[in-house]
């Protein structure tokens, strides 16, 4: 008989500040107020100040981060109604090509092309993926993976919209600062708007579709039309990211459908944690600057994203954000097992 040893376990206690529901708090002091406000206000303030501090190369990285962040947010939005996509590049490419061609062939300024590309990209993605929303999980992912790659090949072989060479010298934004602020503001807007949408009744239905679509159907809700609406919203956000990037780069090419734009959002969400949007934002805020720092490695970047993706799915399946949030909201102490 082995000797009976004392064992210890971690006991977790919620901090007393939360009163029953996630959105209702019992605030007793300024300390409590700060405890609640800081994690929300600090990143927002930081992102609003950063465009003033960062210029030149790192200013571009900031725009990059926000663009990828938008893609990650749109991925997370689709995923919250059960549409798992491996082709965020599709939305990005639609937006880029809408904005680029409107600017090149009709000489419209960015103030016109950006909204048109956003709406057009959203509509086109909803229309193109409309027949496919009946598919679930893996099957939907397969179709979304194929579409951008096939479209890229089509542009390459048929030579439409500049073909393999692309279109350069598009109209830029009036200033880099404006572009940076546009990216940051839209990113923050989408982050908080998505969080609001998902916790409203409308978002509840979307989450229910992900969890059990048959139950939702039996509640006399047309799940296909809801899924198409979600597609439109995330397609529009992705298309905006593409349009912004096109004008910022002043270049439109096949690279808009590149694998980067599909992989990185998934990697960001997998790293940050799915379902809260804050996780997606956090993931892209970590990943994109990191990948810029790793730019010296050149072609290995995508391989590194993939490595991060695999490791984070296997080691920390819940994501960094959920982990940090849990640590922030709970005390931990070691107690003896009796």
């Amino acid at each position: 008989m082995p000797e009976v040893q004392t064992k210890y376990r971690k006991k977790r206690l919620d901090r007393g500040i939360k009163a029953r529901v996630d959105t209702i708090f019992a605030v007793a002091s300024y300390g409590d107020l700060l405890y609640l406000l800081l994690p929300r206000a600090l990143p927002v303030l930081g992102l609003l100040i950063l465009p003033l501090l960062l210029t030149g190369y790192w200013g571009k990285v900031l725009v990059y981060t926000c663009v990828y962040g938008l893609l990650a947010l749109s991925w997370d939005f689709m995923a919250s109604c059960g549409l798992f996509s491996l082709g965020q590049a599709l939305f990005f490419g639609f937006g880029a090509y809408f904005a680029g061609t409107l600017n090149h062939y009709f000489h419209l300024p960015p103030a016109v092309t950006l909204p048109v590309a956003t709406m057009g990209g959203g509509l086109l993605s909803a229309a193109l993926l409309g027949p496919v929303v009946r598919l679930r999980g893996v099957y939907f992912a397969m179709v979304t993976l194929m579409l951008p790659i096939l479209l890229r090949k089509m542009i390459d072989t048929t030579g439409v919209f500049g073909g393999a060479h692309g279109i350069s010298r598009l109209a830029p934004f009036p200033s880099d600062l404006l572009a940076a602020y546009l990216a940051v503001l839209v990113f923050l807007f989408c982050l908080f708007a998505f969080r609001r949408i998902i916790s409203s009744d409308y978002g509840l239905v979307l989450i229910a579709i992900r969890d059990d679509d048959r139950a939702v159907m039996s509640g006399a809700i047309n799940i296909y039309s809801r899924k198409i609406q979600a597609l439109f919203i995330s397609g529009a956000v992705g298309a905006f990211a593409g349009a912004l990037m096109t004008h910022h780069y002043q270049f439109l090419g096949m690279s808009a459908f590149a694998l980067d734009y599909s992989i990185l959002p998934v990697a960001a969400v997998a790293l940050g944690g799915q379902g809260t949007f804050a996780g997606a934002a956090l993931g892209s805020l970590i990943l994109v600057p990191l990948s810029e720092a790793l730019r010296a490695l050149g072609g290995l970047r995508i391989a590194i994203y993939c490595g991060i993706l695999i490791v984070s799915i296997i080691v920390l399946p819940e994501g960094v954000f959920h982990y940090v949030a849990r640590k922030y909201h709970q005390f931990e102490r070691v107690v003896e097992v009796k």
């Binding site: 893996v138 099957y139 194929m146 089509m154 998934v266």
Partner: protein
């Protein structure tokens, strides 16, 4: 010459279809048995090509030794892949998909980074020259592909119907829990199915790759075609896989002949959209699969 045209359409259509079926066979097998959508299929295909190339030009082995060796190594890789990575996330389809896809893309990018592209990297033909089949000149390599395709289908059929492991495969495919209760270990069969799928990808690579040069981009292409065939034909049925590859294969050759070679790429896309609109479970998908997919 007028009679030769439809004849060549027929011959090259069949050859193209068999190539597509070879691409899709491994993917379909793995998915049908264990439910793992192996998105690293294309990467394994191209990786086995490079393994064979390295055996031939770095180690100096002849092709008839290098090819089986690389098939075996690819099979072992698939086996390891299951035990090292997939085992930890088994049963979460989305995580499986992301991990296999990420592993595949990482492999392709690594190969690209190492500089594996260009005319230098190609596998040798088995035999030069060609024959005429019904007034259409066909080179021996394509005849060989045809033969391999037919042989593989026959061997696979015999294997899954008349060997113990094959029967266990089918048991897993039909009902995992019942298979478990009669002593078929699902992890063991799952890893074997992945390694068989990888081996099939490697066999396809050994016979198809000599037709052109090797580059990483082909990996994604192979994956795309395998997926297209699987979606059109219905994932789980072998007959569906064959019919699906024939539809896309003939469609491509016909499109190249009558509209122009650059429109070949439209065919899989159009076929997928059409099939999904008309019959979402694929042409040979059964109602059970309909439930899972739609």
């Amino acid at each position: 010459m007028e009679t030769a045209k439809p004849m060549s359409l027929l011959v090259y259509g069949i050859i193209n279809s068999v190539i597509l079926a070879l691409y899709a066979a491994g993917f379909s097998l793995t998915y049908g048995i264990s439910g793992i959508a192996n998105f690293s299929h294309g990467a394994l295909y191209i990786l086995s090509g490079f393994t064979a190339w390295n055996f031939m030009y770095a180690a100096g082995l002849p092709f008839y030794l290098a090819a089986p060796l690389s098939v075996i190594i690819t099979a072992a890789l698939g086996f390891l892949f299951y035990w090292v990575l997939l085992l930890r996330i088994r049963g979460i389809p989305l995580a499986e998909l992301i991990v296999t896809f990420a592993a595949g893309v990482a492999t392709l990018e690594l190969l690209m980074w190492k500089g594996f592209y260009g005319i230098r990297y190609s596998l040798p033909l088995f035999m030069r020259g060609g024959v005429e089949i019904g007034m259409v000149a066909v080179d021996y390599q394509r005849v060989f592909i045809l033969g391999t395709g037919v042989l593989l289908v026959v061997l696979l059929w015999l294997f899954v119907h008349h060997t113990k492991i094959g029967l266990a495969f089918r048991a897993m495919a039909q009902n995992e829990r019942t298979a478990l209760s009669v002593g078929i270990e699902s992890d063991w069969i799952g890893s074997l199915s992945l390694s068989f799928g990888s081996a099939l990808a490697a066999v396809a690579a050994m016979v198809v790759l000599p037709l052109g040069m090797m580059e990483s981009a082909i990996g994604l292409e192979v994956l795309i075609y395998a997926l297209a065939v699987a979606i059109v034909g219905g994932l789980e049925s072998t007959l569906g896989m064959i019919v699906g590859s024939f539809i896309i294969g003939f469609g491509q050759v016909a499109a190249a002949r009558y509209i122009g070679a650059k429109w070949m790429i439209i065919v899989p896309l159009a076929a997928i959209v059409l099939v999904l609109v008309v019959r979402p479970s694929g042409i040979f998908g059964k109602y059970k699969e309909l439930e899972e997919r739609v």
